[in-house]
């Protein structure tokens, strides 16, 4: 079923007529070797166009060929990631164009697929796609990509773009029943939030098998006759898994930067003479530094030290971490600040850290909405009060 013919067909001579490719596909009916590759002048010219190129389309870097199927050619994708993939990963981890990092939904193939090969379904977030094809290195499988708007499996299932309807639609749209002889789909377990296996069967005749959570477990899962053991079924939140979230958490705060700077300088300059530039600058820098400490505490320290900081509520964890960091900052500042100013800074750091830590609940895989709402109702009044007291003390310190 697979046709691996690529460039380099010997029957074509540079001057001869175009000749049919041995494995005729709809994508490349005719293939002709490029004319003389030696340039008459200037630097050597670039390579000839790939026979898989098509006017109006761009060939994705991860496509290595096409597999012929009764429903047309299906791209065969690489299972080794390349430099461009790694650079793309680094960019999205830094929060750059994260919502646009996606691949086209539809059917792909890996290795030498047959109508009996398993079908794995996943999201069209490029990061997810990359991890899946890497996890399938050496396997022969079909990969059905859903349109989850470039969102990962679990979040998309929560938002219902990785849904029962989307699975059924994509199975029909790709004419999967003409391509494979079996009627089984392997879905990632975490998509169960958005997909009803029973309804998928009813809607398109394919039976859902729940695959493992992590792509690295896919090979053992396939090897064990599509059975996942208990460890494959439970989510984890290890130190590296938390570490990788920190850059995005930080970049999401960019939009507040200007407001922090403005508030810092303005509040610091207010004094008996209405407003003075000197303190606005000197004290402003200290207040902005305190904001940075609070942000570091809430978005870096709490996520990384999550399991070691006491308390279950994230607001509490954030407040504890903020208290230590605030005390640390006040000690470092020493005589540069007064007692009242020290209190103001600690309050600011504790409240900011507590609030930001609470916001990290959205990135964890174990906080329930009922729990988050409960802690928010309790914590937000205290956080607000601490901020008001902090500002009052900071401004007030100029008057005492």
């Amino acid at each position: 079923m697979s046709s691996k013919t690529q460039n380099g067909n010997d029957c074509c001579t540079p001057d001869g007529p175009p000749c049919a490719n041995e494995a005729l596909t709809e994508m490349l009916p005719l293939y002709r070797k490029a004319p003389v590759d030696e340039p008459c002048c200037g630097p050597p010219q670039g390579p000839a166009s790939s026979p898989f190129e098509k006017p109006g389309y761009r060939l994705c870097g991860f496509v290595e060929g096409f597999t012929n199927t009764p429903a047309g050619p299906v791209p065969r994708i690489k299972t080794r990631l390349e430099l461009g993939d790694f650079l793309g990963t680094i960019k999205v981890r830094l929060g750059i164009n994260r919502s646009q990092y996606k691949v086209a939904p539809g059917l792909y193939s890996i290795g030498d697929v047959t109508p009996m090969s398993p079908v794995l379904v996943t999201a069209n977030y490029k990061l997810t796609f990359d991890m899946l094809r890497k996890g399938l290195d050496g396997e022969h499988a079909w990969v059905l990509i859903l349109d989850t708007r470039g969102i990962n499996v679990w979040c998309a299932a929560g938002k219902k773009t990785f849904s029962t309807a989307e699975v059924i639609h994509r199975v029909k749209q790709t004419r999967l029943q003409e391509i494979v002889s079996h009627r089984r789909l392997i879905l990632p377990q975490l998509s169960a939030t958005g997909v009803s296996g029973k309804q998928v069967k009813k809607g398109c005749g394919f039976k859902v098998t729940w695959g493992p959570i992590r792509t690295r477990d896919i090979k053992p899962f396939l090897m064990a006759g599509q059975k996942a053991d208990k460890a494959m079924r439970l989510v984890t939140f290890s130190f590296p898994e938390r570490l990788i979230l920190v850059p995005v958490e930080l970049t999401l705060l960019r939009k507040y930067l200007l407001w922090i700077l403005l508030a810092g300088f303005i509040l610091s300059g207010i004094g008996p003479g209405l407003f003075s530039i000197g303190p606005a600058w000197n004290r402003g820098l200290i207040m902005i530094a305190a904001c940075a400490v609070g942000i570091f505490s809430g978005t870096v320290a709490v996520p990384l030290l999550l399991s070691w900081i006491p308390g279950r509520a994230f607001a509490i964890k954030g407040a504890i971490s903020g208290l230590f960091m605030g005390a640390g900052m006040v000690l470092v500042a020493g005589k540069a600040i007064s007692f009242v100013e020290a209190v103001a800074l600690i309050l600011l750091i504790v409240a900011g850290s507590s609030y930001l830590a609470m916001n990290f609940t959205g990135s964890t895989p174990y906080t329930s909405p009922s729990g988050v709402e409960k802690e928010m109702r309790r914590a937000i009044p205290f956080q607000s009060l601490a901020i008001i007291l902090s500002i009052a003390a900071w401004v007030g310190s100029m008057f005492v």
Binding site: T193, W210, S307, T361, G362, S368, K374
Partner: protein, 96 residues
């Protein structure tokens, strides 16, 4: 996940043991090992491990499980307070 524990006694999860046929789907789809099948019936063995993702309820063929599903995300909940549940959006460039 034993290392991480969130607030106790908050989940809206409930199981109708009469309706359960012990098919085991909930045990398979739950990412926190909340369910276990014993003597052809599902049992909730770790209620406080539940994060209300709704996978079990969505996939229970007997509709024996009920949970008020949602995302445990503070930013989203603030939106529901301000704009109401219908208008609150999870996602966009600035969210998960």
């Amino acid at each position: 996940m034993e290392k991480f524990r969130y607030l106790s006694n908050v989940t809206t999860l409930s199981l109708d043991i009469e309706a359960c046929t012990g098919c085991g789907t909930c045990e398979i789809v739950c990412p926190h090992g909340v369910f276990e099948i014993e003597a052809h019936k599902a049992g909730i063995v770790d209620r406080d491990g539940c994060m209300e993702c709704g996978a079990c309820a969505t996939n229970c063929p007997e509709e024996a499980i009920a949970v008020n599903p949602g995302v445990g995300c503070a930013a989203y909940i603030i939106q529901t307070w301000i704009k109401g549940k219908a208008a609150a959006s999870c996602g966009g460039a600035d969210c998960c």
